[in-house]
């Protein structure tokens, strides 16, 4: 499961890189570019990402100023950094018993995810709420939902758009750790942040 998750995150990472690359051209259709330029640009990126300035230069001489490019590069760079931070940040947030309050130590983790999501409109997450096995199964289903909602609210407050977030609660049904002690329970009271 964790291996699978890691793979998924890695693949998502690559996919996002690609999307980010595309969108830097695709989102400025009204600028100077023709369809021809955009295509060659993408091919260039596919071959090598080293000579991007050549590609712009070769593709079209007019309407693309040096300043614009720098700003774009800067944006790309900050996006990459935000994403790297988000990917490196933990993707599981833990909670106290019968609580959906976000602990202080989880805030910086969520801020990293929020910073990236706020910057990249195309990225989206599914927040999976979970509880430990004690207490009532259906109450736990609602508690898992509230934990996921609590994380969603934190992200929204930090400029992540509503459409980028989906929540689902599994209640106590999918423990991260099987076991019947405080250690296992603590690891199971969680929200998992999964990039789609």
């Amino acid at each position: 499961m964790t291996d699978l998750l890691k793979n998924r995150v890695l693949m998502l990472g690559f996919a996002l890189l690609f999307v980010a690359g595309c969108s830097s051209t695709a989102t400025e259709p009204e600028g100077s570019g023709s369809n021809g330029m955009e295509e060659s640009d993408m091919e260039q990126q596919g071959d090598s990402d080293a000579d991007s300035s050549d590609a712009y230069g070769a593709g079209d001489g007019s309407g693309v100023s040096e300043e614009d490019m720098t700003a774009e590069e800067r944006a790309q760079k900050s996006l990459d950094q935000a994403k790297e931070k988000a990917m490196q940040a933990a993707s599981t947030i833990y909670f106290d018993f019968d609580s959906s309050e976000i602990r202080r130590e989880s805030q910086s983790i969520l801020e990293a995810h929020a910073a990236y999501l706020a910057e990249d409109d195309d990225a989206s997450v599914v927040l999976e709420g979970h509880t430990d096995q004690r207490g009532s199964r259906e109450y736990n289903m609602a508690l898992g939902e509230r934990r996921a909602e609590s994380v969603a609210r934190f992200l929204r407050v930090n400029d992540v758009s509503e459409d980028q977030i989906e929540t689902v609660s599994y209640g106590e049904e999918q423990p991260a750790v099987e076991g019947n002690d405080e250690e296992a329970w603590a690891e199971n009271r969680r929200v998992e942040i999964n990039y789609e």
Partner: protein
């Protein structure tokens, strides 16, 4: 606490010639609260046999286990019997008076080869009156001998207590087995003693909260197949099923109305977890609770006018009641910081729920008239109470002592508790069918 073990087939060797083959049975452990044993003593004498076939089931043992499980009767171990009569003419009432028995059941099995049916002739006597209360003959195909035993159990229980018997009702429940990527959820039904189980649905995703329709023909439940929760309705006999709710967010905790026409369920489509009523014809939910806290686990009152539910609007989960026609909810539980999953008692005069005390989760009850709160079970993690359709027993899942999911029952007064002999690994969410017609 006293412990009574009912074991099949000790000392029966005395009359082995007359006996049908004994089926190995698990122990049924009964715990009775000291000094509060008001169960009526009954002797179920091992049945005689007038045929040479090996019957596939041991009927007197099944009947003995059933009557013990009723909570209202106490059965005598065959090893303690002084004589083993098989018909009324052979009974020496003194033998049973000496043993303090109030009732004696005797019977004989025949086999009709032409019709391929077993026939049980049985007689029930009142010991002190020396009076025959029942004398009857019942038959069944070899594959239906457990049905026959449940039928006879009902006749005896009803004759002695005047209360409808539950032995031919059924349970629905969910099991979860395996771990990691090999988890399998199964929606199952079984006889009330846990035997003769059948799988209705398998899934690698969670299945939760089965509930019977009031006519006993259908189940509703929540299933996560496809990765998102939805509510399904399924005909038990045919397996035909339909998705009836899949709103954004929670789709949870369905409870069928007493008139069969609508469900209460928990949705979060409008923000927080709230309780809705959804008519089964329109499938358009109407919101009943409005609070930013958790509101879930609705349970209809028997008259269909109110519902009990769990809400943590006070800061932790407690039990509330609200009218279907609106108005403010009334808080019912005040003991402890965790009370959840309420179910109504049969007359709507009492609620049963899960109560947390000293880190343990136990079955609790509250009297709706006096407000008195009591604790009925005594293990570590009990959950998911379900009411017997005759109102005499509460069934729940216990996870005591490392055992994962066993079914326990307690009488509604808490005086006697039983562990069901048949184990289903990873059992959760039991639901008890209505009384058969």
């Amino acid at each position: 606490m006293t412990r009574i073990h009912c074991r099949a087939g000790q000392v029966l060797t005395l009359i082995c010639l007359m006996l049908t083959t004994l089926v190995a049975q698990a122990d049924m452990v009964v715990r009775v609260t000291e000094g509060a044993d008001q169960r009526m003593p009954i002797a179920v004498v091992p049945f005689g046999s007038n045929h040479s076939r090996d019957a596939p089931e041991d009927l007197d043992t099944i009947i003995r286990d059933n009557l013990t499980m009723s909570g209202d009767l106490k059965t005598l171990e065959p090893s303690r019997m002084l004589s083993l009569p098989t018909s009324g003419d052979d009974i020496h009432f003194r033998d049973w008076r000496v043993l303090g028995q109030q009732f004696v059941l005797v019977g004989e099995m025949d086999f009709d080869a032409e019709r391929n049916r077993y026939i049980l002739s049985y007689e029930l006597f009142d010991v002190s009156q020396q009076e025959r209360l029942l004398g009857s003959r019942a038959s069944a195909a070899p594959s239906e001998l457990r049905t026959l035993a449940h039928h006879v159990s009902n006749r005896i229980y009803e004759r002695v207590t005047g209360i409808p018997g539950i032995f031919n009702t059924r349970l629905a429940f969910v099991t979860r087995t395996g771990s990691g990527n090999d988890v399998e959820y199964r929606l199952k039904i079984s006889d009330v003693d846990g035997y003769r189980d059948q799988v209705l649905l398998r899934s690698s995703e969670p299945i939760l909260s089965p509930e019977w329709s009031p006519d006993g023909k259908e189940l509703v439940y929540a299933s996560f197949e496809g990765g998102r929760p939805a509510i399904y309705r399924q005909v038990v006999s045919s397996g035909e099923r339909r998705r009836i709710a899949q709103f954004k967010g929670l789709n949870s905790a369905p409870d069928w109305s007493p008139d069969g026409e609508s469900l209460l369920l928990t949705l979060s489509k409008d923000g927080s977890a709230d309780i809705y009523e959804m008519p089964l014809d329109s499938l358009e939910p109407r919101r009943l609770t409005r609070h930013y806290s958790i509101n879930t686990e609705p349970s209809w009152s028997p008259d269909g006018e109110r519902f009990a539910f769990t809400s943590d609007r006070s800061g932790n989960p407690q039990i509330y009641i609200q009218s279907l026609s609106g108005g403010e909810p009334e808080r019912l539980t005040f003991e402890g910081s965790y009370n959840a999953h309420p179910i109504y008692g049969p007359e709507g005069e009492e609620l049963f729920y899960i109560h947390r005390a000293d880190g343990r989760f136990l079955l609790g009850s509250v009297d709706l008239e006096t407000g008195e709160e009591r604790v009925l079970s005594g293990s570590e993690i009990d959950e998911a109470p379900a009411m017997a359709p005759n109102g005499r027993l509460v069934l729940y899942v216990t996870n005591a002592g490392g055992r994962k999911g066993a079914l326990e029952m307690t009488t509604v007064d808490g005086n006697a508790r039983f562990t069901l002999p048949v184990r289903h690994d990873g059992i959760r969410d039991p639901a008890w069918s209505p009384l058969a017609e």
